[in-house]
């Protein structure tokens, strides 16, 4: 068969969102690849310039539908950096607990999509079932299932509801049990291992050069976690280890995320236990100063960054958002070339695409 280009997207079960992967195949082997994004470009950076600082928070929620909490948190972090606001300690702990919950929910969402991609429908169903527990907790806290609008500039919107911490601890215990079950379900499956091991190898040098961050970077053997190495919020006071793996393939990415889920449960327990009493919010000024602010967090998908320029009014002058997946997906050809068409789903699924933040 001669070489031919195949368009996978914008509507394709592999994409989990709106993007287009053009692959050139020789028979079943990929010889060239070219991702194409932008189908969900909403101009969020322009919209933010015409909103006040507070009004941007709901918009930043809609940046990434997989983990909206971490993006609104990142935005609040950036504005606090610009304004020089000190956040009450209780708010920081609440934020950490909630962020880790969001991370678990996001990784479960990823696992569901990944399992469905590989054909194991049962993985999709079980992970979606357990994701509901975390969604319920977040819903009890914020009243919404996906876009929470919970962090505020200078704290969080409101205090924890009654018995929420008890439920969160119970959910952690439940999750520990379920993680073992997933391990049996996936690691114990010969076919799953066949599909993952040795597929989509991304060398350490390539990963560094191409700007890959987050779990794919840590799966390539770089032990770098912003929560540990450039700590923000109260992460320095919490005992945890960044999860990494040296196999560099799809299985390593899967394993890193599984370990991160267990680690997140660990962090939630600590955050809830260490949470002090007190205020959960300070009132932020309406107008920001002239200057720049920089926020940097470890999103579930990688390094999320925001660069904010204030001009003294109540609106951001310029808000630049660094999306981890936008950079990571540009490294896709490096991983795809030389593998089979069927490996596209494993490799691209292993990156955890979230088009909302990619296209902005």
């Amino acid at each position: 068969m001669a070489e031919m280009w195949i368009n996978m997207g914008p509507q394709h079960p592999m994409t989990h969102g709106l993007w287009n992967l053009r692959i050139k195949v020789d028979g079943e082997t990929i010889v060239d690849a070219e991702p194409e994004v932008g189908y969900l470009h909403r101009g969020i950076e322009k919209i933010c310039e015409n909103r006040t600082y507070t009004q941007v928070i709901p918009i930043s929620d809609r940046l990434c539908y997989g983990s909206s909490m971490s993006w609104s948190h990142l935005y609040c972090l950036t504005v606090e950096d610009l304004m020089g606001i000190e956040v009450p300690e209780r708010a920081e702990y609440i934020r950490v607990a909630v962020l880790e919950m969001q991370r678990i929910a996001s990784h479960l969402m990823w696992l569901a999509a990944y399992a469905a991609d590989l054909g194991a429908m049962i993985g999709f169903i079980y992970t979606m079932r357990d994701r509901e527990i975390w969604i319920d907790l977040l819903q009890a806290l914020t009243g919404s299932r996906i876009t929470y609008n919970y962090p505020r500039i200078g704290g969080v919107a409101h205090d924890l509801p009654a018995n929420w911490d008890r439920d969160a601890l119970r959910a952690c215990d439940y999750m520990d049990k379920k993680l073992k079950e997933y391990e049996d379900l996936f690691d114990g499956s010969k076919v799953f291992m066949m599909r993952n091991e040795g597929v989509g190898i991304l060398k350490k040098e390539d990963a560094l050069n191409l700007g890959v961050t987050g779990p794919p970077l840590r799966a390539s053997g770089v032990k770098y976690d912003l929560r540990k190495d450039q700590p923000y919020s109260v992460y320095p006071e919490i005992d945890f280890q960044p999860c990494y793996h040296t196999d560099r393939d799809c299985y390593a990415r899967y394993k890193v995320r599984m370990d991160e889920m267990a680690m997140s449960c660990h962090i939630i327990r600590q955050a809830i236990k260490k949470m002090p009493k007190g205020k959960w919010r300070v009132v932020a000024p309406r107008n920001g100063p002239v200057g720049t602010g920089l926020g940097r967090v470890e999103d579930p998908r990688g390094e999320g960054m925001m660069y904010l320029v204030g001009d003294g009014t109540d609106r951001p002058y310029r808000l630049k958002i660094r999306s981890p997946i936008f950079v990571t997906v540009s490294a896709a050809p490096k991983m795809l070339i030389g593998y089979k068409v069927a490996d596209v789903v494993a490799i691209m699924g292993g990156l955890d695409m979230c088009i909302g933040e990619t296209d902005r």
Binding site: V37, G38, H41, G43, E45, K46, I47, C48, E49, N50, E80, D81, G84, I85, E86, V87, D206, L208, N209, L210, G211, V212, T213, V222, Y224, K228, D229, Q230, P231, Y232, S233, V234, P236, E237, L294, R296, E303, M305, Y307, V309, Y317, R318, K320, R322, F326, V327, S330, A331, D359, R360
Partner: protein
């Protein structure tokens, strides 16, 4: 980030082991100032782990090459283009994993000639970010392998993030 600085100074936080020399910022500053004495200005340590410097655009490529090859900054985090009344600023956030540092390099271009050298041959991760800056802000990156629109349709004619574009938001 007042709060965070205070906490790191008073709390019983262990410093990351790779930061034992205490002054990785100083060595970076010294090295860069030695290399580019005239074009590198306004060097400033904003807070622990964050440096800021301005560099003229003719030395940008060389400075980036120095940062990666000699000083060990492996990762280009972000390229942001900001439009001011009289100039464009292109801000490069460059990370060193081994030193735990973040350098903010700011390059200025005049309004009528928004172009800088492309650094996508140094960091492959810069490729798409430069395309994005070209797409939304209209900055031209000289020597970029494929400088065309990425987020917007190919036949779009405006640069929407410029301030004179009133098209929405």
């Amino acid at each position: 980030m007042v709060a965070r600085q205070k906490r790191t100074m008073t709390g019983e936080i262990e410093e990351a082991p790779r930061r034992v020399d205490g002054q990785p910022e100083e060595s970076v500053i010294r090295h860069l100032l030695d290399m580019f004495p005239s074009t590198l200005t306004d060097f400033k340590k904003v807070r622990d782990g964050l440096l800021r410097a301005k560099i003229e655009r003719r030395d940008l490529y060389k400075a980036c090459k120095t940062l990666r090859d000699i000083l060990g900054f492996e990762h280009l985090s972000m390229i942001s283009a900001v439009e001011y009344d009289d100039r464009f600023e292109i801000v490069y956030h460059i990370t060193s994993y081994s030193k735990g540092l973040l350098v903010e390099l700011i390059t200025t271009t005049p309004k009528d000639d928004p172009s800088v050298d492309s650094i996508s041959s140094i960091w492959g991760g810069a490729n798409w970010q430069e395309r994005e800056s070209f797409d939304l802000m209209g900055i031209k990156f000289n020597g970029h392998p494929k400088l065309e629109r990425i987020l917007l349709p190919k036949d779009y004619v405006y640069f929407p993030l410029r301030k004179d574009f009133k098209g929405g938001g």
